[in-house]
């Protein structure tokens, strides 16, 4: 499912490029330009895909970090 979510993100990026609507000036519902409606749909689609990401691709192991006390100062690694 994780890879399906990643695939959906790629799909969103591809369908965002709506070349087929480039010269379409139709108004939907009497007032909404079709290009704007489509791209608003992309925004809603993005929210749905990111919701699926939080369900199926979430890095749950990172949530355990908050159960430890936060570091008070930087424990620097070896630097030059």
């Amino acid at each position: 499912m994780r890879y399906t979510v990643y695939g959906l993100v790629v799909l969103l990026i591809i369908i965002h490029q709506d070349n087929w609507l480039w010269d379409d000036k139709r108004l939907i519902l009497g007032f909404m330009p079709i290009t704007l409606l489509y791209q608003a749909g992309i925004s809603i689609g993005a929210a749905i895909v990111w919701f699926l990401a939080t369900k199926f691709a979430w890095p749950h192991h990172l949530e355990e970090v908050a159960q430890e006390p936060p570091a008070q100062a930087q424990e620097s690694g070896e630097t030059e």
Binding site: H16, L27, T35, S43, V65, E78
Partner: protein
Amino acid sequence: MTQLVIIGIYLALLLFLGVFSSRLFKGTSKDYMLASHSIGPFLLLMSIFGTTMTAFALVGSSGEAYKEGVGVYGMLASSSGIIHSLCFFLLGIKLWSWGYKYGYTTQIQFFRDRLESDRIGILLFPILVGLVIPYLLIGVMSSGVVISSITEGAFESSFADYDYGVPPWLGSLVISLVVLIYVFFGGMRGTAWANTFQTIVFMVLGVVTFVVISNKLGGLDAASHAVLEKNPSKLMRAVDPADRERYAERYQTWTLIAKYNYARRILKTLKLTDEQKAEAYKRFKPRFPNWQTTAEAVYANQPDPEDPEKKLYKLTNEQINKALLTQDDRVIPDPFPEKWVQGIMAHHDLREYPRKANAEEEKAMLIFAENIGHPEHDLDPDDPSKGKKWTIKKALGVYRASSWAPDAPHPMSKLVFFTYFFVPLSVGMFPHLFQHWLTARSAATFKLPVVAHPLFIMIVWVPCVLVGVWATSATFQGAPLFPPHFPANAVLAAMVKKMTSPVLAGFLTAGILAAIMSSLDSQFLCIGTMFTEDIVVHYGGKDRFTDKQVVFMARMFIIVIVAITYGFSLLEPRRVFTLGVWCFSGFSSLFPIIFAAIYWKRLTKAGAYAGVLVAIGTWLFLFKEADYALKPNYTFLGMMPVATMVVASAAAMILVSLVTRPPSKAALERFFPED
């Protein structure tokens, strides 16, 4: 004056919020800079959204839609909805976990650790601060401009040079001081609270304004149908044939006026008699504003009916080209190019030459001197029906509309639309956003911002884009709402001022300022944090200073940077929005480095240096090619310049990493323990 009072009350509220949140301040630098990792999902969503939505959210979205049409939503907004959340998801959560675990406060601390290189900080610090300054500049300048335009006529006799409103320099100064004060008192906690409050304010007021304006325009259907009839290209990304025809006709008429004015004013070889003028006026219809010059120009261009070879005047090609440049207030090249002695310039050739600095101000002030005055006073005290005195801004607008060439309709490039996707990658490298990510209470806190961010963008942008597009064709009290060449970024404020009540205008201004300030505060804070953490504490030693001293130094550095930015805002009033896109592009060009630092174990110190240097090198090269942002629509290979920067920095980083020594085992175990 009502608007000014509402803005004053709003700013006072913000100060109160900053002081109130300071009561919760724990006194430690960690609390001041990261709110002690205590921010929950709702505050994180609102503060991140408020931070990423700058003046562009309300003012820029409507202004860009006014200029370019509905396509700007796909180019700037829906792409950001996908990419911003992608950055929160792929980068934000990981960086938060390492920040929480290893105690980072800034990006540079992370890079120093991950790349095992102290000097990467020396390289990155000036680059990141240098890129944040133009970003700050956008907010500081926009706030002054917004306050100035909405308070026109607020004073009876003061500030006549600023249309009797608050001067932009004063508005910018007040906003900078207010943000400084609440950031000083509240630190990151105050900033998160203020951002949340301000984000709610600008979202609600944006929707309210949309409803009020659409009603004033006769409803949603009427407003959109006016655009379909008068400017159909604004409803799509191609040019409608009707718009192309209208433009061709207007440009033709404009060239006649240019030639006529050149012959009578510059060459002084033509002077119509009163009889000829009367004949010209009789023949000419329709009667739009300032139609007389057009009538004379058309008349002067017509051949004599009795001798078709004879005209009232004749210009050489060189004179015609100089006439076009003069009429459009453009610099006449010296020496004059041979090709323009032979042939005649097309409109796109004309645009290659820059406009003369201050020409419009000087001419408009001269031509309309008698009309300019206090906007509440009558033009003619004996005849109120003639209307009110003009503001300087109106005089400039009328001058531009009646003198300059009409705007040519242009399609949106498919390649530019696609490569604009690279611009929102900048959020991955914004230092102020990095700091906001680190305030999260837990990794789960990110879930709400990741999901809701695209929806919030839609809620703010869709109404603003519609309003901007409607503005192109709207009429109010029988006249077009905006003349040609009206400054796009002033469209929203002007519509609100003309079409709504002073109270709503005041509230909407507060909303616009909220959007601006909710970015400025985080940027102020992150600049101070970077200075103390990456320079003072890093090189001075963490035991050398107390927490109070660290907070004090952060505040002092913030004051210095704000003073510098404010100084720039007084010097460079022209190219701010274009500079903004260049600043975002600079951050985007560094995106491959942060992405690889998180996900690519093979990234080496040398690879990261190569990536950063190539990113900045290509940025500087392309910035110079674009005439330092003087060419607003500059593209490289037909694409947004940012695409080249990102690809070049990624390629350099990968190639150099593959041929240099891999990172140490200790570093890999620290950041990739599961492998």
